[in-house]
Amino acid sequence: MSKKKHWIWSLILLFSIATGCSGGNAPQSGSDGDKPSDTPPAQDAVTLDFWYGWTGPEAEALERLIAKWNSANPDIQVKGLSQSDYQKQLTAITGGNPPDIASQFGQNVVPWGLRGAMMPLDDYITKDGLDLKDFVPAALSTSQHEGKTYAIPTAMHVSMLFYNKDILQEAGYDGPPETISELKEYIKKLSIVEDGGRLQRLGLWPGMDAYTFSYAFNGSFYDEATQQVTPDHPGIQSAIKLSKEIWDQYSSDNLDRFSSGLGQYMSAQNPFFSGKYAMTIDGEWLPTFIKQYAPDLNYGIAPIPYDENNPEFKNSGNVTTSVFYIPKGVKNPEASWKFIKWMTEPEQMAEFTAALGNLPTRNSAFSNPLYEDVPGFKEFLDYSGSENLKSFPASSYANEYMTEFSAQYDAILRGTVSMEEGLDKVKAKIQPLVK
């Protein structure tokens, strides 16, 4: 063989590799077109890729809705993909090849939106006259920042107090605790501690959701007027003091030992299902799990206990959401919006959230008869109307704030830092991020 031939071969090799590497940049629609689908899309039909984080039965519920959309809209075909690795969305958007529609956790909306990864939807909302007033304010606020809306919340979560009726009755209570001081008393009475401190049963796990209880004490994490983060707000301090007081009754050692012996959350061994916790603070999905894993559990759902000195903050709660958004760089945002708008219409929203046992975010969806079959929904439905539901202030640094706060909360409960010191640390770390 001549030298020339060698060179040609190496060039061919080089080129095939080079083009192979850049294959990732080729438009995805090209490869989509190759696959035969059941219903041939109409001419000039657009195909939208829709990445969502749900899996299993929850994904099936979503796929049913997608199928419904596809049969009604031959010109805009949606292809769903269960993609619970949310990091992939980041890489896809930065790589310039994003899905046309995607789901996210509410707390990521503003961090992503402000950085330009999510398209602001305000123009579409005004154009289509979408009534934002129909949305639960705390839920909507997770998607908004300084007047811009970056996503539409499709489901929301809020926590309430679950209690084991049998255990409470044994202890001589005929109803759940209503105030914070009653809560403390209940916890003491319902916990069973062996000699030597080993725990048999806890009234309520003391490392409870500090956000929910902060709102019960009228706590606030951000002061709009002075543009200061306020992890040391007196309301938050009261909530931490409450947890710490309960925690110290049992000691970290015993609590660690007890909690590491507890069963998996999504199983019949869930400590609340198995009677290891007499009460628990949990979300609206729990009744659906109870029905599945512990159908015989005799339980009740009650509002979060309120501070008797601040009765006006009764029915407090911390709202988190799941949202749909349009990533930056999509080719056909108009079509993506049409689909999102349809998905978040009261009817579709009800169908989806009822299947998941989640709460809808639109007031007009609440009355849908579909929810009648959802266990425990009525209590949560009523609770959703409470004016004292709040959500963590949406900001570009919300994730850092929550991470730092929960790290310090843990350290405060364990007594490695004092409360003042811990909260000062949060403030010192987060305040510089406020722009």
Partner: protein, 317 residues
């Protein structure tokens, strides 16, 4: 052996014949997938991250030049020191222990007993199990109430800690886990052990050297290059420890949970870096973290290699 061939090549580079040049090009052509991959996926990102470490970059908008600000912030960050401390603990306590144990296993597996091949397989087996699976398995083993480890400790009348939840015990838990996987290191030691000439032992025995003396004067020096290799690889691995902590400390996808376990006792360098990059979207900051890690690992490796001359013996030197 390697040394001589490399030297030979170097000598002849200047005087390539036509035919030789042919084969070099052909060889390069065949190696080109790797070369291109190396340039595109290693060299380019390497210098890319150096540039990014001097910028503020959130993935979505173009990087903004900030000079050394990221580095300044890092050195003022509690989490940096916490994660560095945790990582050093794993590197300087876990790695030597694991090395010693795998050498011990290798020596046991070097005995000529019946069915030794089965023992060798059994010790190696944990190494083929993915880290995620073994981490999940160990959450069961380390369960304070009905886990195997505490059951054994209780039988012996010892304390039975809450392994994965008590900040004092979380890192020892990981060391325990890494011991379980020390079969891979043992296998390398075993291969080296079998390369130690028997005559040395026989001669020493004739001279009346006891087992301990033979171990220190023959086995360890003979294995020292392998020990150095395993030490460096182990340290590099320890500096990048991630998965175990992510699984055991309950990593949550939504970012709200605090990675790193109770009192951040499992917040390792790589875990912190991951969180800064992919949860907080601070790519510039994370790149700076990565470069600091790179320099630390480079320094440690350099020191080890420099000082190794005193204790590593290469055959024939």
């Amino acid at each position: 052996m390697k040394v001589t061939t490399a030297a030979n090549q170097r000598k002849r580079v200047s005087g390539w014949s036509r035919k030789e040049r042919h084969y070099v090009f052909l060889g390069l052509a065949f190696a080109s997938p790797w070369i291109i991959g190396f340039l595109a996926f290693t060299v380019y990102p390497f210098f890319g991250s150096l540039y990014l470490s001097l910028t503020e970059y959130d993935l979505f908008s173009p990087p903004k030049w900030v000079g050394l600000q990221n580095y300044k912030l890092i050195f003022a960050d509690d989490r940096f020191y916490k994660s560095l401390g945790n990582t050093f603990f794993m590197a300087f306590i876990s790695v030597p222990i694991t090395l010693a144990v795998s050498l011990l296993i290798a020596m046991m597996l070097n005995f000529k007993v019946k069915g030794i091949n089965y023992y060798r397989t059994i010790f190696y087996l944990p190494s083929v199990i993915p880290i995620v699976a073994s981490a999940l398995l160990w959450t069961w083993m380390l369960n304070p109430d009905f886990g195997l480890v505490n059951m054994a400790l209780r039988t012996l009348g010892l304390t039975d800690p809450a392994w994965l939840l008590d900040p004092r015990y979380t890192k020892p838990s990981l060391i325990l886990m890494s011991l379980w996987g020390s079969g891979a290191g043992a296998l390398i030691f075993l291969a080296a052990l079998q390369g130690v000439p028997r005559q040395y032992y026989e001669a020493a025995q004739v001279d009346g050297a006891n087992w301990w003396y033979r171990f220190w004067k023959i086995t360890v020096p003979a294995l020292s290059p392998i020990i150095l290799f395993q030490l460096i690889m182990g340290l590099i691995g320890a500096f990048q420890i991630f998965t175990e902590s992510y699984i055991l400390a309950g990593g949550k996808v939504d970012g709200s949970g605090s990675l790193g376990g109770p009192e951040q006792s499992l917040l390792f360098y790589a875990v912190n870096l991951y969180q800064e990059a992919f949860v907080f979207l601070k790519m510039g900051y994370a790149s700076a973290l990565a470069w600091i890690l790179f320099i630390i690992v480079l320094l440690i490796t350099f020191i080890l290699l420099k000082t190794s001359g005193r204790w590593v013996y290469y055959g024939g030197d």
